[in-house]
């Protein structure tokens, strides 16, 4: 099974790094959409079938937490897997995001740490592609 993913981050470099890491981790990728803020992220979700969202927190226009809130308001996206990729170090903020159903990958991340979280929340791993 390949995953259609959406990467939401205001830095094009970070979006490229996440994509590079997913390829290095051997995650089977389908359609890849990118957005530079929460609003664009919601637009992408409206227009494309997405299996997994990677989201930053600090973004202009609409931040990642607000985007997650909007996503969870929609019944069809209630269970959509979301991975927050951030340097956030506050346990309180991380727990708040987790209560909204988001998983967390801490920066700097490795292909292994990303692979582990993806396997945990989607069941899709590198091994299944072999």
């Amino acid at each position: 099974m390949s995953l259609n993913i959406l990467i939401v981050d205001d830095s094009a470099v970070v979006r490229a790094m996440i994509l590079k890491t997913l390829k290095m981790a051997g995650i089977p990728l389908g359609d890849v959409q990118q957005a530079s803020d929460g609003c664009e992220g919601l637009d992408a979700l409206e227009n494309h079938w997405i299996d997994l969202v990677f989201a930053d927190i600090n973004m202009p226009v609409m931040n990642g937490e607000e985007m997650i809130d909007r996503i969870r308001e929609q019944p069809e996206w209630e269970e959509l897997p979301i991975i927050v990729v951030s340097t956030e170090g506050s346990a309180t903020r991380i727990e708040r995001l987790q209560r909204k159903g988001a998983s967390f990958v801490h920066k700097p991340f490795t292909p292994e740490s990303v692979q582990e979280v993806i396997k945990k929340i989607t069941g899709v791993s590198h091994e299944q592609t072999a």
């Binding site: 830095s11 470099v13 790094m17 340097t87 170090g89 920066k107 700097p108």
Partner: protein, 164 residues
């Protein structure tokens, strides 16, 4: 306190450069490097203490940094803006990891977007003073990571912090 802070800065910088850019920071240069102008990025933060982290690299380091972070071949042409964005992201990760090492994971900080700054501008103009710094070398040139704060850091630095 200063020694602990320096160890935290060094530990976080070493881990970040290695994990994000596959570059190994070294305390001394392995080979002589060409001198080049410096590029600096600062990340402002607000929380239990306020301040900023400044990462300064030789201009020659930028290309190598961006190439590795983006997984491109050596010598690939990368736009200057993209090279600077790579340094901004690196500084963002360094800052984001230094703060909980100093103040613990219960502390909440708000971190501004990283900005390019004049590498030669004195930070004291903003009422900040140098709390600690670490300097090291990559193959292509020197790097410094500075922590500047408004007044003293009024938190207890964990004894084990920076020991990674």
């Amino acid at each position: 306190m200063n020694r602990q802070l320096e160890e935290i800065l060094w530990g976080v910088a070493e881990e970040t450069f290695e994990a994000l850019a596959f570059l190994l920071p070294m305390p001394e240069p392995v080979e002589p490097f060409e001198s080049s102008p410096e590029v600096a990025v600062s990340v402002r933060f607000h929380g239990p203490f306020d301040g900023k982290v400044i990462v300064t690299v030789a201009e020659l380091v930028l290309g190598e940094l961006a190439c590795n972070m983006l997984g491109l071949d050596d010598g690939a042409e990368i736009a200057v803006d993209t090279q600077q964005d790579a340094l901004k992201e690196l500084a963002n990760v360094v800052c984001g990891n230094i703060l909980p090492e100093i103040a613990g994971t219960t502390a909440v900080f708000n971190v501004d977007a990283p900005k390019l700054v004049d590498a030669s501008a004195p930070a004291s103009e903003e009422g900040l003073s140098l709390a600690s710094e670490t300097r090291f070398f990559l193959d292509s040139g020197p790097v410094s990571v500075e922590l500047l704060t408004e007044g003293p850091i009024d938190v207890e630095v964990p004894v084990t912090a920076g020991a990674n």
